[in-house]
């Protein structure tokens, strides 16, 4: 089952600056060989369900190992059986309707 998710990991108990922890998660996604794209409030990730979810678990593990005693993540999970659709397809569909082009 192919999945497109959006992951936002929030470490608690480590102060207000969370960029170091977000960076760790980016390294996890890179090492997992997944297709991903960070934005200002999370990261889009695409792949097979089990591989993507293994990476989400790994993110929690490394953020805890890096010192965060508590984590609260938000994960949006999109699956469909009617047709294949990539993250880029979703963005392209909207730009096509708007007559705009992604930068």
């Amino acid at each position: 089952m192919h999945v497109i998710v959006d992951l936002c990991v929030i470490p608690l108990g480590v102060g207000v600056s969370v960029a170091n922890y977000v960076a760790e998660c980016q390294r996890v996604l890179e090492a997992a060989g997944l297709s991903y794209q960070m934005h200002a409030y999370g990261t889009n990730i695409e792949g097979e369900w089990d591989e993507v979810m293994a990476a989400v678990k790994k993110c929690h593990e490394v953020v805890h190992e890096k010192g965060a005693p508590r984590i609260s993540s938000s994960l949006k999970i999109g699956t469909r059986t009617d047709r294949d659709q990539s993250m880029q397809d979703k963005i392209d569909s909207v730009h096509e309707i708007l007559g705009t082009r992604p930068e």
Copy 2:
């Protein structure tokens, strides 16, 4: 790794009424032997990471099987390494501060 999640499964392409699909997910959670509690905008689930996530995957599978061609779920994921905390503990902590009691 113990986890408390909040799952909200939204089937697309099956009209406005989604209660049948939510009911299917409740059956999945019951069959999985997990501790869970439905509310008006999702379901709290508690257990070991792998078991909870297997149930979330199963929910997507059964909702697709039941006819939904597309699903968009929201999942909040809470983990902590500093201490054990159940779903009820979280609720009790707030009620204790407020001097109120859950009904």
Copy 3:
């Protein structure tokens, strides 16, 4: 426009225990006269859009005033124009299908 939301406020920079801040938000909702129900990973709130959103803003304000320098909230927002539906209606629909009764 009637709305059912689910609000989860996460204060950052104040340690791992967030119950005091959640309790402040419950007081805001109570003072606003809104219908609400806390669960283990957020709070369901029901009412007119502007009143509910004013309460959400007030929650951010009081949590900052109470000392949290940073907040990351999750809000699910449900609206429908086809019919009236309360938070309890949503729960009842699922229990009816399952043949169960809320405790």
Copy 4:
């Protein structure tokens, strides 16, 4: 109060293709003069609380007007009182740690 949000609007009862509705929301954000950036699972928006929330409400209104009888949105809301931070600042912080540059 400055806010960075991430908005994902899901229309129900209109089939599986939602790009037309997402495009309507992009038009709302453009017309509102807000800073925003669409990604594959939502749109980051930045601005003053009241203006951003007025745009979120407008999105629900136009999506209903365009024919969706039911909407379920997800909104992440970030505020901070310790310092100013833009959407780009958040992304830059992570890229700086990783030693990478956004494309």
